[in-house]
Symmetry: C2
Subunit: 214 residues, 2 copies
């Protein structure tokens, strides 16, 4: 049953989590409704863009009233697929891997880190933030037995490329890639890149162009 829906652009997906974050803040400060106009001032975008973005997914507002904050927050949560728990493993128990393991905020949002994996035998068996480090050769079984959807790769780039290849027939649905490389995966697996070295280069560029008044 082919779903013939309007293609949602990358730019919109980029903005959705930010809407979600602001709505969460409004919610926690007790605001229960907001107009696209007020929301636009808060977020520094146009009201038109907010209404257009939201209407890609449905009419969540009400004329003359605006948007119900709690309702919109929940609707966007559903759109993003974070209305349920996602099980994650982190491959690579280095500094970043441990940082992710210790990051309790993810848990709160329904991203549950179930295990760390590392090729260093001396790390295996240790625990960080209550999350155990398991041996590399148990990854595939672990994914299958524990309903793991996402693998975060916090390993060097060559290992990441190898791992992406090994993961392709495990049923994993998403790779959260912290390695400095692009990954080539079958099209039913989604890759989200966190390229910190590219991020800091953009910072550098913007600092430079800011200072010469461009």
């Amino acid at each position: 049953m082919e779903q013939k829906e309007k293609k949602i652009s990358k730019a919109i997906i980029q903005r959705l989590p930010r809407y979600y974050r602001y709505l969460g803040e409004l919610l926690s400060t007790g605001v229960d409704r907001i107009s696209s106009s007020d929301f636009s001032k808060l977020m520094g975008v146009t009201a038109s863009q907010i209404r257009q973005d939201l209407n890609n997914f449905g009419g969540f507002g009400q004329q003359g009233y605006g948007y119900n904050v709690k309702n919109l927050y929940e609707e966007i949560g559903k759109i993003l697929g974070i209305d349920r728990v996602h099980n994650i493993i982190v491959i690579g128990a280095g500094n970043f891997g441990k940082a992710l393991a210790g990051y309790s905020d993810f848990e709160r949002r329904g991203f549950r880190i179930k295990a760390l994996f590392d090729k260093d035998a001396s790390k295996v068996g240790k625990t960080y933030s209550g999350i155990e480090i398991l041996p590399m050769d148990s990854i595939k079984d672990y994914i299958r037995d524990n309903n793991i959807e996402i693998a975060a790769l916090t390993v060097p780039k060559d290992s990441a490329i190898e791992l992406a290849n090994e993961l392709k027939d495990t049923g994993i649905k998403g790779i959260w890639n912290f390695a400095h490389t692009d990954l080539d995966v079958p099209e039913d697996i989604v890759v989200e890149n966190v390229h910190l070295s590219e991020s800091i280069m953009r910072l550098s560029y913007n600092m430079k162009s800011r200072s010469i008044g461009r």
Copy 2:
């Protein structure tokens, strides 16, 4: 002396570090020239886009020949402002702060982490990857005395907002923000956000829309 240059779009800046990364790989594999056509196949973008992007900054190629890999790599490095060292401090010596401190790749690219700062007195004086943890109240002096350009904030969001405010008259030029909030800073300071929670939400969204074949 007002520079009246063409405005470079965010989309182009987004792509530049990726070009840089691929050129670095070509360089290390001994490739010394490449045409926009071959480069486009390698990177999965159009040749037209590559030529357009590069020509915003100058004519780095040569008709009938293509681009010299080493030359282009260096030119993009200059454009990104990474042809010199940038001194960085990391504020917040939690897991992420320590991960950044331990991340030797940055050093290699000219981003030099000089010190960590933490409000926890019991951490002060300790060292991670050769980088010392200093007390919070010494930040301003440290920035001034050590030619610090970038502050990485790996602290909770309320602290990040406070810190962004305190940093505004220290001469700091860039903030690398890992906190889950937007920061309001004077326009001569540049903020680059790394919002991991938004990143994983995008992953979640894309997994969801992939599986229903949208």
